[in-house]
């Protein structure tokens, strides 16, 4: 039993666990919206384009959580706005302009960071440091969860209509445009909350893997909504424990754990698992069409 309880003795592990549970749950719930709205790549690009905002904040105000927070927020809004302007005023489509701005933005961030007097480690930006959470980090995570979760829970129905059929949702009185912007806003908030603590890659892992996993297991939106949160929470904590016991870096361990859970669902899900589909008896028309195809 000792090995099980030992991690809890350290204060940094208690903080890390609390952070993991909270970010894991919030991002996990949000992930169902990203997966169903097919925004995963969008989130990826957004996360990487926050770097110049962080760099500018670092250069101007030093390494305080609040300045980094606002730097990231401004950068995210500028990129989101830039995407809308470029795709709206030229023949360039949204995905192209997003990809372009994301590459430029990330590069600009690296250039800006080279002016920083203190040596800044980009790995920290990518993976954060969940074992070094300060009080201010926990507060930001806590506050943002308090904003994001109630909105998603209370507006489940309009969000469901919006995710399923944006065009039809408008005829049912859903303010489709506003909901779209709201979703992007919540995404940016959640990303920033996790960015400080856990870095871009981990934030993205938590924003995509949980819903992708439960999407393979259930046909109920409610189940995906809450299940995403639970998988995000328990998966993150499990990854943290694994990293403690195996003495491996914690951020990558958490992402790999979430990835492993997804892979298990991909193979063994009773509903949409690949293995079960292979084991199920072949349907007649497969052989029929094969026979027709092989005919000379």
């Amino acid at each position: 039993m000792n090995w099980l309880l030992e991690p809890f003795r350290h204060e940094f592990m208690q903080r890390a666990l609390f952070g993991c549970a909270l970010i894991g749950f919030t991002n996990g719930v949000l992930s169902s919206f990203l997966v169903l709205r097919r925004l995963a790549l969008m989130a990826d690009a957004m996360a990487h384009s926050l770097l110049p905002g962080l760099a500018v904040a670092l250069l101007l105000f030093g390494l305080a959580p609040s300045s980094l927070f606002f730097g990231a927020l401004v950068a995210a809004l500028l990129v989101a706005l830039g995407v809308q302007i470029i795709s709206g005023s030229s023949r360039i489509k949204e995905d192209t302009s997003l990809g372009l701005l994301f590459a430029c933005s990330f590069s600009l961030g690296l250039v800006l960071l080279s002016f920083s007097p203190a040596r800044v480690n980009v790995t920290h930006y990518l993976f954060g440091n969940i074992l070094g959470l300060a009080d201010s980090d926990l507060w930001i995570i806590y506050l943002i969860s308090l904003i994001v979760l109630p909105i998603l829970v209370l507006w489940q129905r309009p969000f469901l209509l919006f995710l399923f059929q944006p065009a039809i949702a408008a005829t049912q009185g859903v303010w489709v445009k506003s909901l779209g912007y709201l979703l992007m806003g919540l995404l940016v908030l959640a990303m920033i909350a996790s960015l400080q603590a856990v870095g871009v890659i981990l934030a993205l892992g938590m924003l995509i893997a949980p819903a992708a996993t439960i999407y393979l297991c259930s046909d109920s939106f409610t189940a995906i909504f809450w299940g995403g949160g639970l998988i995000g929470m328990f998966g993150s904590c499990a990854g943290l424990f694994a990293s403690y016991w195996l003495n491996l870096p914690s951020g990558p361990c958490i992402v790999l754990t979430l990835g492993l859970i997804f892979f298990l669902a991909y193979l063994f899900s009773p509903k949409y698992g690949v293995l079960l589909r292979l084991l199920r008896s072949h349907r007649h028309f497969h052989e029929e069409s094969l026979a027709r195809w092989q005919r000379p």
Partner: protein, 240 residues
């Protein structure tokens, strides 16, 4: 008095190029109306204008004495099958329940009245046995009827169907045809964009010929003529 859908001087344009040009049309509940016209004739644009998805350049739409509002529960638009994400995690029952959200609002829990409206819609449309199925596990015809059930639960009176018979086999077509008959018998207005001219007389009692402008409108027996068909499908109203 029967409700009427009154369309006055309706113009819909995309970037100043009109898709529908000064359309005047009065349709009454209790009819099944075929909306006929070549590709680009403005059929889908008309549907979108009726439910408020595109702005009106000129004119007005009026149903049952009041203008069109974005949240008009009475008018239900069922988009083409390929516009739906069939992998979406929703069962038939969940889909039909969405039709009640206009009544329940965004927060209120489902009351017995709402549940029974859902049950009734499923029964009417003959999908009670498949209520727990995910929507991609239905046949094409069942999928169409599931969306009609959602509109029934919404208590819609006007059903706008965009090419509902596309891709259906013969038995499914007959089943869907019977459903449309029942809808109109119960006093609803059914308007369907349709392209299979052979089946028009059996399915619809009124016909609208549309090609940018109104070509002809009336009872199928009177206006569904060779002359109107060729006028609709062979004239180019607006240059492409």
């Amino acid at each position: 008095m029967k409700h009427q859908l009154v369309i006055r001087d309706l113009t819909v344009a995309y970037a100043r190029v009109p898709a529908i040009h000064h359309l005047d049309l009065v349709l009454s509940c209790g009819h099944r109306v075929a909306l006929l016209g070549p590709n680009g004739a403005g059929k889908t644009s008309l549907f979108k204008a009726l439910v408020g998805l595109v702005p009106l350049e000129t004119g007005s739409v009026n149903f049952g004495g009041h203008g069109r509002t974005p949240a008009a529960a009475e008018i239900a638009y069922l988009p083409q099958r390929n516009a739906v994400d069939w992998d979406f995690p929703v069962t038939v029952r969940g889909l039909v329940e969405m039709g009640r959200y206009l009544k329940t609002g965004w927060w209120r829990a489902f009351a017995t009245e709402d549940s029974s409206a859902v049950d009734e819609a499923l029964r009417t449309i003959g999908l009670s046995d498949l209520a727990e199925r995910q929507i991609s596990a239905l046949s094409a015809g069942q999928q169409q009827r599931a969306f009609i059930a959602r509109s029934l639960a919404q208590k819609a009176h006007v059903f706008l169907l965009d090419e509902p018979f596309t891709g259906l086999d013969r038995p499914s077509q007959e089943l869907l045809g019977a459903t449309l008959h029942r809808l109109s018998d119960e006093g609803n207005l059914v308007i369907a964009a349709h392209h299979d001219l052979k089946t028009v007389p059996g399915l619809f009692d009124q016909v609208v010929f549309l090609n940018g402008e109104l070509i002809a409108f009336g009872n199928t027996a009177e206006v569904f003529t060779e002359e109107n068909i060729s006028r609709t499908f062979e004239t180019q109203v607006f240059s492409k």
